[in-house]
């Protein structure tokens, strides 16, 4: 297929995601406004008002209802979407697990934001990572283009019959949602071809099914095992969808992880989300000063790219994981994931907890920690707080 050139627009993250959603043509949306997602909801309503998006936007009274509404709608066949953040995502939690367990294909965007208390409207990843065990595919965007790309791919991955799972697209609140960047958007016709018509439909009056029924212990365990297998299968489906997307857009998609300057690196930095952009700067600066450092970006958080991460850790003199979420009493959430896949390896793995509740992190902060790592001066866990 020839590379398809679409328009180049200047969009803030929320509008880029709304644009992708419009092109994916969902028929039912249920969204409750919450900072920093609100402008996305506003844009979607505007599209509906102008007749550019033919969808029912259900005005719900809470995030719990938003997810419940699209859960029910999705069972009847239409493509659905919601978006939330922080406290909203927490309030949605019960239904998040319901749709995950029921294996309902749908897409939710999460404009990541810190969790109270204390109250905060700024960015970190605590909300996003808290949904790691809910049988959802979770992907994280680095920039606005990435948020647009992942949203389109999310619909296709979610509805793939080999996966049949909800997908969560995380993108950093304010840092991406409210920042205007150059975005290449695909022509509508190309998106139509990229995302095939949805096949998932459970409500059929000629063939009635019970949904949400109690499962006996034997059946419960069986379905959980099937979900585990589907999550493993999703890895190859995600790679396949990304490869196809790369072919269409000409934009490199890399896969579950991306290795930046890490082929010959002695020291490796691991990160996820928008600050990966700053990490690239930090790594490049250190390279200019002759330090052999590299960067591993985690693009897909669930299914966690175990094999890729393990492979990337091998033979390094030191690794530092930058964490924007913390499991109190244990460690940085991403660090724990990385460490779990380093079992048996001797590479020392350090953690830097930073950017909590939107605390500013500059490339030179990242550079400093990475330089300390190369000089053996980095503690096992450092807090930039």
């Amino acid at each position: 297929m020839l590379v398809q050139k679409g328009k180049v627009l200047a969009l803030v993250g929320n509008h880029a995601v709304a644009y992708a959603v419009k092109q994916a043509k969902p028929q039912v949306l249920a969204v409750f406004p919450i900072t920093p997602q609100t402008t996305m909801l506003e844009k979607l309503s505007e599209y509906i008002d102008k007749g550019e998006l033919r969808a029912e936007l259900i005005k719900v009274e809470s995030e719990h209802s938003a997810m419940a509404a699209i859960f029910g709608a999705a069972l009847a066949g239409p493509r659905v979407f919601t978006a939330t953040a922080s406290q909203g995502l927490l309030y949605m939690t019960e239904m998040i697990y319901w749709v995950g367990g029921q294996r309902v294909p749908l897409v939710a965007a999460v404009a990541t934001r810190a969790i109270a208390s204390p109250w905060s409207i700024w960015d970190d990843h605590q909300d996003f990572v808290s949904k790691r065990d809910a049988i959802w595919v979770q992907m994280m965007a680095e920039n606005v283009q990435d948020a647009y790309d992942i949203t389109l791919m999310a619909f296709r991955i979610s509805e793939d019959p080999r996966v049949m799972m909800p997908v969560m697209m995380g993108f950093d609140g304010f840092i991406l949602t409210h920042t205007m960047e150059r975005v290449e958007v695909l022509p509508d016709s190309v998106v139509d071809e990229f995302i095939p018509p949805r096949e998932f439909k459970l409500i059929d009056f000629d063939n009635p099914l019970g949904i949400g029924a109690v499962a006996t212990p034997d059946n419960y365990a069986k379905y959980r095992k099937k979900a585990m297998e589907a999550m493993e299968r999703a890895k190859s489906v995600i790679k396949e969808v990304m490869a196809n997307f790369e072919e269409i857009t000409g934009r490199k998609q890399y896969g579950l992880t991306e290795c930046y300057m890490c082929e010959d690196a002695d020291y490796l930095l691991v990160g996820m989300g928008a600050w990966v952009g700053d990490m690239r700067v930090a790594v490049s600066r250190l390279r200019e000063r002759g330090k052999k450092v590299g960067l591993l970006k985690i693009r897909v958080f669930r299914p966690f790219p175990r094999e890729e991460v393990r492979e990337a850790l091998k033979g390094r003199k030191g690794v530092v994981v930058f964490d924007r979420a913390y499991s109190f009493g244990s460690g940085g959430v991403l660090s724990l994931e990385v460490k779990a896949n380093a079992y048996g390896l001797t590479t020392p793995i350090h953690t830097v907890v930073a950017g909590l509740g939107g605390k500013d992190v500059r490339p030179r902060d990242i550079e400093g920690a990475l330089e300390d790592l190369t000089e053996g001066k980095l503690e096992e866990e450092r807090w930039l707080a």
Binding site: P161, M164, E199, L209, G210, A213, Y223, K226
Partner: protein
Amino acid sequence: MIDLSEIPVAKPAKGSAGKTGTWRVLRPVIRYDKCTRCRLCIMYCVENTIDQEPNLYPKIDYDYCKGCGVCAQVCPTKAIAMVPEVK
């Protein structure tokens, strides 16, 4: 096509949970001399175990009736008696 064995859905079918009539403690017995064939018991039966041929009296399927007693409660002529299964 979606693979229904992959996701938790229930396919309702008669007897899929075994013969639930064995759960019964009280047995509904219809006194046909009092029954007016109003069909209320059929409509209210939560387990769909009461059936009726056209113009005939209702009949309880004791293989699946759990003995909940809803039919006896709704019967306007008190034609259904709940009789202990064990004396």
